[in-house]
Symmetry: C2
Subunit: 370 residues, 2 copies
């Protein structure tokens, strides 16, 4: 399982694994893929710096990358306090009422309230880029469109390629014009921010549209070697997997003790029909696990979600409360339709082995059908 | 390009082509696939009988099939006149107002008003089955779930296998329990009636769920040899293509003269983002070309679509008027996201050649990546 792109990165398999967990990211790189650490949760620059130092030391010298969320258009800037004022009272009241109805208790007094995902602000994202470029990174990805031109230039000066997410052909074309090296073609079935066009149609369409001017990673629905084979058959240079690592044994975010977290238990029990695409997480359409929380937002009395970054600031404390409550039926978590295939907690190395073995079996099947 | 299923049917390629046009269906069979004629448009039994006789005579002795739409639950029965009474005045007024706004003239006096797609009534569907079994058919498909048990038995008595559409694993399991031989796994991106789970996730999930107890055809997003390769890599026994034949040269429905019809011109210009999944065509969610007509139904003043079969009876005359008006911007047509790839009018044999060539190239690419 090798492509021109995997050879370019010096990795064993063209499997790019996005995850907010440094433990999972490092394990993906050690297993022969490229672990890509999601940085949006790091509001504190020093914390990100420390985690990347840990990555440098725990990847056996193998390459890894970072994902920094930079909106294509500069949104409302300002401190958390300024932005707070833009949130309507109706929205706050709905969130409070809903959490009470769902039995989610307030935070205990000793927990500090989060100030929302400030990583979605340009100023914070740029500090992430500065910090990341001080480490041994092999890729900067932006899970939300083209990074600003100066960020692309800054990465290229350090010899670091840049990847950007595209949910439609015109986004892919714009990325390439902006100097992006790798387009992540993210189909409808993907977790997190996603468009309307599904992977089977989107991947080859983007491959054809951008030709040799950039590489294409196939994202949305990949969780098996058969799906990797499908991606390469459709012309992609590799796969980008996000959701599937959430039930990796190394994923410990949100776990209070040993054993699966409430989020992992919810994911293990979900089918491919148990997701919903909604603006309630960030303000832009994103696929989430369907739970009592997402269902509440589709009731007639629910307000329309706010634009990015306000919506995430609105629900930030709610996410903390939901996480602390630990009820698998009330979860706020981006995940793709591939969740239906996430039915056990396994080490990253087992997942990678299955991808490679499944790929070989799929190619055998295709050769037999010749 | 051969699988156990294509060998079972005695066809050259595991390509099952659904189309309402007998000319296209016959061409698909002659080109080495299995042409499947959609029968829902035949309200008159004698007309269907005559067309199937034409199919018998124009397929060079090669196998073909029929698609008959049978709702899983028996819906409201009755004559067109009875059913008409169940349609609210508000809905009729909205349709009339919208057509006027869109510049769609009334039918001229010499045109007979259609009475809606009565093929969606069980009584009509059963007469279709009776007629079809009097012809040299190799498959009965139901594009709307399991056919009634007695229809399956009736087909099996004549040695004719039965296929049914599934948009989720539980539908596929139910079909197999009911005795269906072939499950058509129809992903979100498909044209016509479709569910929420996209092909990349749905196809392997259904393959795994039903094991060897039935064959699986991959539907939704297929319009190239690469996509056929992806389907077989994901474990399917063949592909089911519907939308892609709408721009075949042999497709003449709706054409007043030579050259592409207004519908074909609309399809040729559409991108993969120009579809919408809506209940306005039949009462159940179906993917349609996005045009001024579908957009009107998503306005705040639009009424909610009626249940099947009432919605189609409501819009039946509108569809006739739209078709007669011939404006490519006002079209009512089911089509999948693969419409973005439908950019020229080509004979069926050219399309089939591209499928076979593209398949080979895709498998070459996968072998190189090994």
């Amino acid at each position: 399982m090798q492509t021109a792109l995997s050879r370019k990165f010096g990795i064993d398999y063209p499997v790019f694994g996005f995850t907010p967990s440094e433990h999972v990211a490092a394990a993906i790189s050690r297993a022969g893929g490229l672990g890509v650490l999601g940085c949006v949760r790091f509001n504190d620059a020093d914390e990100l710096d420390a985690v990347l130092t840990w990555m440098d030391e725990n990847t056996d010298g193998k390459p890894y990358g970072v994902d920094i969320v930079m909106p294509a258009k500069v949104p409302t800037e300002g401190t958390a306090v300024d932005l707070d004022k833009l949130i309507p009272e109706e929205h706050r009241a709905f969130v409070d009422r809903t959490l009470t109805e769902l039995g989610v208790p307030p935070l205990s007094d000793d927990v500090e309230e989060a100030s929302g995902v400030l990583g979605w602000l340009h100023s914070v994202a740029r500090s992430h880029v500065d910090i990341a470029l001080g480490h041994r990174i092999s890729l900067i990805a932006n899970a939300l469109g083209s990074p600003p031109k100066d960020v692309i230039d800054q990465a290229h000066e350090k010899g670091v390629p840049v990847a950007a997410l595209a949910g439609a052909v015109e986004h892919a074309r714009r990325h390439v014009e902006n100097g992006v090296d790798i387009v992540i073609a993210q189909g409808y079935e993907a977790g997190g921010h996603t468009g309307e066009v599904a992977s089977m149609v989107l991947w080859p369409e983007i491959v054809d549209a951008i030709g040799d001017s950039a590489s294409v990673l196939a994202a949305g629905g990949v969780g098996s070697g058969r799906q990797v084979a499908a991606a390469l058959a459709l012309g992609a240079d590799g796969v980008w997997m996000g959701s599937y690592w959430l039930t990796a044994a190394e994923y410990k975010l949100g776990s209070a003790a040993n054993g699966p977290s409430s989020i992992q238990r919810a994911l293990l029990g979900a089918t491919s029909s148990d997701t919903v695409r909604s603006r309630i997480y960030s303000g832009k359409p994103a696929r989430l696990l369907k739970t009592k929380w997402t269902e509440a937002w589709s009731r007639p009395d629910a307000p329309a979600p706010l634009p990015m970054p306000l919506q995430n600031i609105l629900v930030s404390e709610a996410h903390q409360r939901i996480s602390a409550a630990g009820d698998p039926e009330v979860v706020a978590m981006p995940v793709g339709q591939v969740v239906g295939r996430m039915n056990e907690i396994r080490p990253v190395s087992d997942i990678m082995n299955e991808l490679v073995t499944g790929y070989d079996q799929a190619v055998d099947r295709l050769n037999q059908a010749r």
